[in-house]
């Protein structure tokens, strides 16, 4: 009897959460996969021997992350977002965090919204110098010695911004500053889901730091779930 009650309670919670996710008023979903065709450039090992405190954190050398691929030709670190059709949104109050750990940027691609607080932390035993290279937003570069609290900043215009460290030339990352909350960054499987989209016509853009961007138009009616896939052309060099 007790088992049955627990089972029922679990089922109710599951159903409730599915309803909350997919059947919210006007909650359509766009999901899909980002893959590549052709031969992508090989990741190269990074020599960190000049910074022993970082080198010793990695049992095997860290590889370059300009193009990161997964199983079945999936492509990682692609920002998939609604570039047109959705209204601009105010930034959420919770900050996003950009870590410097083992002389690497984590995550390699960080997506967040216009005016959302960006926290940059140095977890290393060495100084870093964070230098984002925007073309539209305000440019700055700041040093962050070890043990200092995270620094914060905001960007007021949407833009894809490369980030480098002025002390460790191999360190490279990207900020994706977006206008609304409908975005995803692909991980190992290359898949993405954009949920809670009210009915309407949307332009979905997939952006990759090396392969550029692609767009597709999708129309959502009711709470339907649509699939959109992106295929990038990979280059060996």
């Amino acid at each position: 009897m007790r088992m049955k009650q627990a089972y029922l309670a679990g089922l109710t919670m599951l159903v409730a959460s599915v309803i909350a996710t997919y059947a919210a008023p006007g909650g359509g979903t766009i999901s899909g996969k980002v893959t590549y065709e052709g031969t992508p450039a090989k990741p190269k090992p990074i020599d960190m021997s000049k910074e022993p405190s970082c080198a010793k954190q990695h049992a095997t050398p860290v590889m370059t992350e300009t193009v990161v691929t997964g199983p079945n030709n999936s492509l990682e670190n692609v920002v998939v977002y609604v570039s047109a059709g959705a209204p601009d949104e105010n930034a959420p109050s919770q900050p996003v965090r950009f870590d410097q750990k083992g002389c690497q940027y984590i995550p390699h691609v960080l997506a967040f919204q216009v005016n959302q607080t960006l926290e940059i932390a140095n977890d290393d035993q060495t100084s870093h110098n964070i230098h984002p290279l925007p073309k539209i937003n305000r440019e700055w570069n700041k040093s962050q010695p070890p043990g200092t609290p995270p620094m914060t900043d905001k960007y007021d215009k949407p833009e894809f911004i490369p980030v480098k460290c002025n002390i460790h030339p191999w360190m490279h990352g990207n900020f994706a500053v977006l206008k609304n909350s409908h975005y995803a960054v692909t991980q190992g499987e290359g898949s993405f889901t954009l949920a809670n989209l009210p009915p309407g016509k949307y332009t979905i853009t997939a952006w990759h730091e090396s392969y550029g961007d692609q767009t597709q138009d999708v129309t959502i009616s009711g709470s339907e779930a649509k699939t959109v896939n992106f295929v990038f052309k990979a280059k060996p060099y």
Binding site: A41, K44, P45, I46, D47, M48, S49, K50, E51, T64, E65, T66, T126, S127, N129, S143, P162, K164, N166, I167, H168, P169, W170, M171, H172, G173, S210, K235, Y237
Partner: protein, 267 residues
């Protein structure tokens, strides 16, 4: 009081010379074929400067001792010729010293800078940039592909600005973060500055040479002892200067070949 000053002066002069005379500060190990000439030159310079220093201090102490506390009221006498003669003598003495060091040292200098490397020397390019050194080996074709500064993409491992998509020669160039070299083989180091002035200093190699933006400078040397040595930048080049270093790895020919092959697969 004057005599006490003479004694203190003598003690200070002898105490300063002592650690040098007994070689208290030993030179780091010398791993190059030309290093002994540099060491001899340094040692000659130290001896010459040391003798001049001790001579001057002890002479000063002697005069202070001899002529202090004079009670007979005799007039102070000068060397004949006055200040002019003193200045001329000092000029000739110092000039001779500098000239002598130059003449003695010219061979050590000429061995590195005025003698071309042997034709079979191994060519390696060294690039200094804020704030790291990178090295390039020509690969199987023996050719260094041209550099395209606009292609530099450090996040993607393209530190030199190679263009392998359009330039076949660039595809086999081997770029590394450490300078590995075979032992007992002459190395012809081609020096390239990516941004500002830097310097290549390996104390065990007895080499310190600036990188100058826009100038293709080169060095040649032969390492005679295996090991891992630090390469540091000794020209203040910016915020991360303190952190600008790399390693020189002197390997046996066999280990070097293996290392180079391994690096070639990583490109």
């Amino acid at each position: 009081m004057g005599k006490l000053f003479a004694i203190i002066l003598t003690i200070i002069a002898l105490a300063s010379a002592y650690p040098i005379v007994v070689h208290k500060y030993v030179q780091p190990v010398d791993i190059s074929t030309h290093g002994h000439a540099i060491d001899e030159q340094l040692s000659d310079t130290m001896a010459e400067a040391g003798f001049a220093f001790l001579g001057a201090q002890l002479l000063l102490a002697f005069f202070v001792w001899k002529f202090s506390n004079r009670k007979d009221g005799s007039k102070v006498t000068h060397l004949p010729g006055g200040a002019k003669l003193m200045v001329a003598t000092a000029f000739i003495l110092v000039g001779t010293e500098v000239l002598a060091l130059g003449v003695l040292g010219q061979k050590a200098w000429a061995d590195v800078y005025f003698t071309p490397p042997k034709p079979d020397a191994l060519q390696v390019q060294a690039q200094a940039g804020q704030f790291a050194f990178y090295f390039r080996y020509p690969g199987a074709d023996g050719k260094f592909a041209p550099l395209h500064p606009d292609k530099i993409d450090e996040g993607n491992g393209n530190y030199f600005g190679l263009d392998p998509a359009n330039d076949v020669d660039a595809r086999d160039d081997i770029v590394t973060g450490e300078l590995a070299i075979p032992i007992n083989r002459e190395i012809h180091l081609l020096m390239h500055a990516k941004d500002v002035g830097h310097s290549f200093y390996v104390r065990e190699l007895r080499i310190q040479q600036d990188f100058v933006p826009g100038l293709d400078l080169s060095l040649h040397f032969t390492a005679t002892q295996p090991g891992r040595y630090e390469i540091v930048c000794t020209q203040l080049c910016g915020l991360g200067h303190y952190n600008m270093k790399a390693y020189l790895n002197v390997l046996s020919q066999e280990d070097f070949d293996k290392w180079l092959k391994e690096k070639a697969t990583e490109q």
